[in-house]
């Protein structure tokens, strides 16, 4: 255990917040805004608060599970509760899901960069270049990823809010009306389902041994959920205020269109380069995190010492899975729709089920120094 922890590296609360927040926030650069506005209308910003609150509840349950099994990450808890075979299978399912997540996010990024910037470059070339960078980042392990996230998180968040601020002359507060969008029921139900958009917070449970214990886990989890909630909600609101609910649902990237709408005078315009910087960096970091964790969980499941030998084969897998969807519509309407709307049934419910099983069968963590932890 000690060997693995050393290899993965150690990082603090700030880095943990940066990793999870980057992973969660990146989707705001893509189709997420338009999809929510399409479903919820003017109340999308309220709906995402519902999602945020739901995630806080779900994360609390996951925290209870982690507290029950101190010094264990979630893959070890799976094995402790379900037995070795079932625990491994469950870990492998998570590994596969994270690979699917990384591939779908990568493909969404590639489709969008083709739509906006590089229309004639072959997707395979873009995917290849992107994976090459992710592989290098993954090579340096979790600590490397944590440091990168720590460096880039603040500039990305600042860039994001600078765009929202500069686009403010286009906002019309009356476009918030009718306040309940397509109805209270639609807002709450979609809000509950869209807690999937926050479920990346569960990665903390896989990285807990690299953090300074449960306290860091708890702080990082709650902080990143709240940061993401504020970011999502403000972005959704700004998009509705700028484009109305009828126009907001059309955009491929609401945030990019918002940055393209910034015009102060002849000299202050075309500020979407700010957006591009934030977009590319955060996409890169988030795919690298998911990619690394996929390998990491796999190594833990099979007790393989070190993740580096697996980077190459997993890169191939990532490449192939990223190229499976035939077109943009398939990526958005199948892969991304599943990840951001229905993945909560898997990501949240599995740990919660494990918690219930552990409670029912009275399973707890190891006894250390003659005292139950």
């Amino acid at each position: 255990m000690t060997t693995i922890r050393n290899r993965e590296g150690a990082f603090g609360t700030y880095e943990a917040i940066c990793i999870t927040s980057t992973l969660m926030i990146t989707k705001i650069f893509y189709t997420s805004i338009s999809v929510i506005i399409d479903i919820e209308g003017t109340s999308g910003w309220i709906g995402t608060i519902v999602s945020c609150l739901t995630t806080l509840v779900m994360f609390s349950l996951i925290y209870m599970l982690m507290k029950r099994f101190p010094n264990k990450d979630i893959t070890q808890i799976f094995e402790a509760v379900l037995g070795r075979f079932s625990g491994k299978v469950l870990s492998l399912v998570f590994s596969a899901y994270l690979l699917f997540y990384a591939a779908s996010s990568l493909r969404e990024f590639v489709e969008m960069i083709k739509a906006y910037n590089l229309p004639y470059s072959p997707p395979s070339l873009l995917v290849f270049a992107f994976i090459a960078v992710c592989a290098i980042v993954a090579y340096y392990g979790l600590e490397g990823i944590a440091r990168i996230s720590g460096i880039f998180f603040i500039p990305v968040i600042v860039a994001l809010f600078v765009i929202l601020l500069l686009a403010s002359p286009n906002y019309n507060i009356n476009y918030m009306k009718p306040y309940l969008g397509y109805g209270l029921k639609e807002t709450v139900v979609t809000g509950l389902l869209r807690c999937s958009a926050y479920d990346e917070v569960v990665i903390l449970a896989f990285m807990i041994n690299s953090m300074h214990g449960l306290k860091t886990f708890k702080r990082a989890g709650y902080s990143s959920i709240i940061i993401t909630g504020i970011t999502f909600s403000s972005n959704l609101l700004c998009n509705v205020l700028a484009f109305t609910y009828t126009g907001g649902r059309e955009n491929l990237s609401g945030l990019f269109e918002l940055s393209r709408a910034i015009y102060f005078n002849r000299f202050v315009q075309r500020l979407e380069s700010i957006f591009l910087f934030a977009w590319v960096i955060s996409s890169l970091v988030s795919v690298a995190i998911a990619f690394y964790l996929s390998i990491n969980i796999y190594t833990k499941a099979f007790r393989i010492p070190g993740h580096r030998p697996l980077i190459f084969p997993f890169s191939f897998l990532l490449f192939m899975v990223a190229l499976i969807p035939k077109n943009m519509s398939e990526v958005v309407q199948l892969n991304i729709h599943f990840i951001r709307q229905y993945s909560c049934f898997f990501i949240y419910l599995v740990p919660v089920m494990i918690l219930f099983i552990a409670v029912i069968f009275r399973k707890r963590g190891d006894i250390v120094h003659g005292k139950k932890n």
Partner: protein
């Protein structure tokens, strides 16, 4: 160590080769950048598309009034080289295909990356603009901050007269022309983003600037025989302004849309009051008749002192809108030399100005309600809050209720400054 350095070199070479963007690399010189895109109804095909792009040659400051040369006929016509630009027109089934079709004659790829103006002919927009705007909203090259205007007559002819008369840069001239909307408020500055948002909106309807060509025949020639009349209602439409000069194209007024069709216009004067209601009136000099000596006027420089307060409510099921305008003004001149700077008289002048503005704003609202039945003011925004959800709001269909809305207008004018004089002395021996 050697292994690491080799790896680093390979990575650097790889990144270098990829970042040169071999597939999407475009040299600046490989493209021509259309500054203006004009759309007319086609004769042999769905749409006639005109582009104007700079030739990057020394234009000598423009030719004044533009050129009407049309080189060749058939599908593609025209060039206007004298003003440092080329103009091409083509008919095609769609705008995007037209851009490709230019490639059969223009030696460089046509790009809309630096487009400044989108010009729509009146004939086209009266039939509906939706099939032609949708591709521009989707097309990555077209920026949504381009200015949009409807022109009287063919867009092709208009663009032939679109020249820079001050300085060499047509691009700069066009951007500065749009800024004139803020300086005079005789026409609105509307971007594609504004127009497209309004087109899809359930709260309001769209409008654009109204433009046209002036043939300089509106300015009467000959000797003045009678006393010059005072005409305060000097609202003009493009092409009708009594002037002569260099630039033939002019912007005056607003094109009013209902859905994707143009249904009418506001003249330059009405546009000012319309912009006051929407809060987009920046400044403008308005002549107020001198009540004591009606043959004279008092030009005042008006501006909105704060955003107009618009409230909407239902009274016995009928929508009612109350518009409250707060304006500030500076006295530009007092032709009669009556001592209006006096603390008591300035109040009287405030009242006169308030009455004047209030009447005209009410008239403009009445005209739009009764003639065009299109809520270009965005009053619908005030009523959407009365509905709990979008379904109910859309079912209510504000646009069908706009014309029955009662509107109360209140204007409050404060004359703040009196120019560089604080008193008017009488001219002696008059």
């Amino acid at each position: 160590m050697v292994k690491r350095i080799s790896l680093l070199i390979i990575v650097c070479l790889f990144i270098g080769s990829v970042s040169t963007a071999c597939y999407d690399a475009v040299e600046v010189d490989d493209e021509v950048y259309a500054l203006v895109l004009g759309l007319d109804k086609g004769i042999t095909n769905k749409i006639r598309v005109t582009i104007q792009y700079p030739t990057y040659k020394n234009s000598g400051g423009g030719s004044g009034g533009g050129q009407d040369k049309k080189a060749g006929g058939g599908g593609m016509e025209g060039s206007n080289e004298a003003a440092g630009t080329n103009i091409h027109t083509i008919e095609a089934p769609s705008i995007l295909e037209a851009l490709d079709m230019y490639g059969m004659a223009v030696s460089r790829r046509v790009s809309l990356m630096h487009m400044k103006n989108l010009i729509l002919s009146e004939d086209l927009v009266k039939e509906g603009i939706q099939p032609f705007l949708a591709p521009l909203a989707r097309f990555r090259q077209a920026r949504r901050v381009v200015n949009i205007a409807v022109v009287k007559g063919p867009a092709q002819d208009y663009i032939q007269n679109n020249t820079s008369n001050i300085g060499e840069s047509l691009s700069k001239a066009m951007e500065l022309m749009s800024v004139q909307a803020d300086n005079t408020s005789f026409f609105p500055r509307v971007t594609f983003y504004n127009f497209y948002t309004a087109l899809l909106s359930t709260y309001e309807q769209g409008f654009t600037a109204y433009s046209g060509i002036n043939d300089f025949k509106q300015l009467p020639e000959g000797e003045q025989k009678t006393e010059s009349p005072l005409n305060l209602d000097n609202g003009y439409e493009p092409g009708r302004i009594p002037r002569s000069g260099v630039a033939k194209r002019e912007f005056a007024g607003t094109a009013v849309f209902k859905g994707d069709k143009m249904v009418g216009t506001l003249n330059s004067e009405e546009t000012r009051y319309f912009l006051m209601i929407t809060g987009k009136f920046k400044r403008g000099i308005i002549d107020i008749q001198d009540e004591e000596l009606p043959e004279y006027v008092i030009p005042m420089d008006f501006r909105l002192s704060r955003k107009p307060v618009i409230k909407g409510y239902f009274k016995k099921g009928r929508p009612v809108v109350s518009v409250s305008l707060e304006l500030e003004a500076d006295i530009g001149s007092i032709q009669s030399r009556i001592d209006y700077e006096d603390r008591n008289k300035i109040e009287k002048l405030n009242d006169d100005a308030e009455k004047y503005i209030q009447e005209r704003v009410t008239q403009v609202i009445g005209k739009v309600q009764n003639q065009y039945k299109s809520d270009i003011f965005g009053f619908g925004q005030q009523f959407a809050g009365y509905f709990s959800n979008i379904g109910e709001w859309e079912k209510f269909n504000w646009n069908s209720h706009f014309q029955e809305a009662g509107v109360n207008v209140k204007a409050n004018v404060n004359i703040r400054r009196t120019g560089l004089m604080w008193k008017s002395s009488r001219v002696t021996d008059k």
